[in-house]
């Protein structure tokens, strides 16, 4: 895709582009919606928003701190700003997000693009697999990581409708339109059970990894291992009730996230289960918190960090062995 080309909406499955269309739709309906761009619009998908609403895109230049600060000021005048840059650069405006936006409880909807390993070979500086460690600990902030385009569109709509600060993690790559079911409706703060074939093992996923988890579940089924798969598009507030229900029904849990295995989904799950003394083994699929992720094709990265469906199968078998030993 050449820069600034507007893709065919019916054909593209890249979440970033579909986000650009979805946000433009929302701005058709709501005069108060504006987007802010820190000079990455044709990468993040905001160029599509710009195409439909050139008067509603505020350019801040390459200035991420000011991107979020200006969004805060616009929110105070009644606008619903969607500042958008690479998720990795939230490290540059974390304090603006923490104090100006979240402490003030302003109606700002941050879009983190290029989350996790999917950055198009951008390398260690652009990979964003550590950021949830802080994002999930900011009071007032709601954090959502949708797993398919339908869910992303519904989450955007929800963010626009719900007062207060939001952070949406948007993946760069192609995803399915619907990983869930016909008539699925995203509900803020609620996880959903995607598959419930039985109670041999629990998979808990968020964001892009719902796809990997589904493929892994099929492979496990062929080996006679029945999976219950829970998907948590909302990471904050986290749906502990669904997790506790799962923990009562399965002997072991494996978590899957497009993020490192500390500070994100795995930490949420482990903290919640430790608090109630759930004695089942819980292991994680995700990147290594001690690594800078070097440049490489995403296939190679997923293999290196053992994040493919094959690796999930392997991890499930290891984890069930742990459960059997205990």
């Amino acid at each position: 895709m050449a820069q600034f080309v507007i893709p065919d909406r019916e054909r593209t499955r890249q979440m970033r582009y579909r986000m650009g269309f979805a946000l433009a739709d929302l701005a058709d309906e709501n005069e108060d919606i504006v987007a802010l761009d820190a000079d990455l619009r044709s990468s993040t998908g905001l160029h599509i928003f710009d195409h439909f609403h050139p008067d509603k895109l505020v350019k801040t230049g390459i200035a991420e701190q000011n991107l979020v600060a200006m969004a805060a000021g616009l929110a105070q005048e009644g606008y619903i700003p969607f500042p958008c840059t690479f998720d990795a650069f939230c490290r540059r405006y974390m304090d603006q997000l923490y104090i100006t936006v979240a402490y003030s409880n302003l109606n700002v909807k941050v879009l983190g693009a290029y989350v996790g390993l999917f950055t198009g070979k951008a390398g260690a500086t652009h990979q964003s697999d550590k950021e949830l460690g802080l994002l999930l600990r900011i009071p007032n902030l709601r954090v959502v990581e949708p797993g398919c385009n339908l869910e992303m569109e519904q989450a955007l709509h929800c963010a626009a409708q719900t007062p207060g600060p939001f952070y949406l993690r948007i993946v760069r790559c192609e995803v399915e339109d619907n990983e869930l079911w016909d008539g699925y409706e995203f509900e803020l703060g609620r996880g959903v059970t995607v598959l419930d074939d039985g109670a041999d093992v629990g998979l808990v996923c968020t964001g892009y990894m719902v796809k990997t988890a589904r493929i892994a579940a099929q492979k496990l089924a062929r080996r006679g291992i029945k999976v219950r798969l829970d998907h948590h598009p909302t990471l904050k507030p986290f749906d502990r009730a669904l997790l506790y229900d799962l923990a009562e029904k399965v002997p072991a849990i494996v978590t899957l996230e497009n993020h490192c295995v500390s500070g994100g989904l795995y930490s949420l799950v482990a903290e919640a289960l430790a608090e109630v003394g759930a004695g089942l083994p819980v292991t994680a699929v995700g990147t290594d918190p001690e690594d800078f992720i070097h440049t490489g094709h995403v296939n190679d990265l997923l293999h290196h960090y053992r994040m493919t469906s094959e690796h999930v199968v392997e991890k499930v078998i290891q984890t069930l062995r742990l459960a059997g030993d205990s």
């Binding site: 701190q65 600060a69 929110a75 105070q76 003030s104």
Partner: protein
């Protein structure tokens, strides 16, 4: 000395100059009220300093240096330039004042209380547990505060977004002004310059960056820790129209300047360099980084400051001689809500 004077009731010596703070005022030197306005602003600045000493000492907390350097600016802004309504703090047509150097909030809390945003009695709770007057302001709890902050350099960018939002809302809202007070030391923060750049780019002429150039930052002198001069040239190079005061404590100069500023709608943002003295009017604090962060160490020390302020300003402005002593006597250092469990000792800065 026991006295019957209630030092928190200032109504016998001071009332807001404007009966109605919603419309824009224009009071040039030939105006018959001009002399009254200047005296009223000087009295207000004096009372801001005195009540700041009071609240900081009650709290054993505070930033006197920056609160004293901004006193005349706050007095002229609230008494003359800013359009607002304490009975409706979020009146949609108000001008907006952001205090970006948030630590200097004791001065702002004093002026907000005096204009009736909240009771004067609240000032004694500044910084104490369960008071709405946070160490650094929280706009969700304190009426009259426009944003929560305390980490420097963030609010100038918010002001840019705010001014841009007003312009987008159309001429009626674009008539509103945004003022943001930035510390000179705060200009060390890169984000401040991102905001200047964006304001210049968007030509936001409803936005005024006011820099409290009091020459002293938290732990030293601005010129020695991280110099920002030539500040006027730098601001001009960012496409701002720059005004410099000869004396940022001269209310006459400030009234004249803040009469002119809202009329300068020429497609360029405005910047004002307030030439001030950190800790102004308390000899011990003036130009002294040691009093950036530190309340008076005792009620007696606060009493000396209050007496000094009265001798300098209160006396000539007709404040009764009993006032400083009565205010000193009213100081009650607020204890923690709970017992000291483990013999913890924590000294002030």
């Amino acid at each position: 000395m026991t006295t019957t004077l209630d030092p928190l009731d200032f109504s016998s010596w001071w009332a807001p100059f404007r009966e109605d703070t919603r419309p824009r005022w224009d009071c040039l030197p030939h105006h018959e009220d001009y002399a009254d306005l200047l005296e009223n602003c000087e009295t207000l600045a004096y009372l801001i300093r005195s009540y700041t000493v009071y609240s900081m000492t009650c709290a054993a907390l505070g930033h006197p240096g920056g609160s004293f350097s901004e006193a005349e600016f706050l007095a002229v802004l609230y008494n003359y330039a800013l359009r607002f309504d304490p009975s409706e703090p979020r009146w949609p047509m108000r001008d907006v004042f952001y205090l970006s150097k948030c630590h200097a909030c004791p001065g702002l809390y004093a002026v907000l209380a005096m204009f009736g945003y909240f009771p004067m009695q609240d000032l004694s709770g500044y910084g104490s547990w369960e008071s709405h007057l946070e160490s650094h302001p929280d706009w969700n709890t304190t009426p009259g505060i426009e944003i929560s902050g305390g980490s420097l350099g963030q609010i100038p960018g918010v002001a840019v977004g705010r001014a841009l939002g007003m312009r987008r809302r159309g001429p009626e809202h674009y008539d509103r002004m945004v003022y943001v007070l930035i510390g000179d030391g705060e200009c060390n923060e890169g984000a401040v310059w991102e905001a200047f750049m964006a304001a210049g780019h968007y030509g936001l002429d409803n936005l005024v960056f006011v820099i409290d150039s009091n020459k002293v930052q938290a732990k030293g002198f601005v010129s020695r820790d991280m110099a920002i001069e030539p500040l006027a040239d730098k601001l001009g190079a960012f496409n701002l129209d720059v005004y410099e005061t000869r004396n940022g404590h001269d209310v006459g100069e400030l009234v004249d300047l803040f009469t002119v500023l809202p009329q300068q709608r020429r497609g360029r943002p405005l910047a004002v360099i307030l030439n001030t003295v950190k800790g102004k009017k308390v000899g011990q604090c003036q130009f002294n980084p040691n009093w950036h962060t530190s309340a008076p160490r005792s009620i007696e020390a606060a009493g000396e400051w209050l007496e000094e302020l009265w001798l300098t300003d209160g006396r000539r402005l007709g404040i009764p001689p009993e006032f400083p002593a009565a205010l000193t006597e009213a100081i009650d250092i607020v204890p923690p809500a709970h017992e000291n469990p483990d013999d913890i000792s924590e000294a002030q800065a």
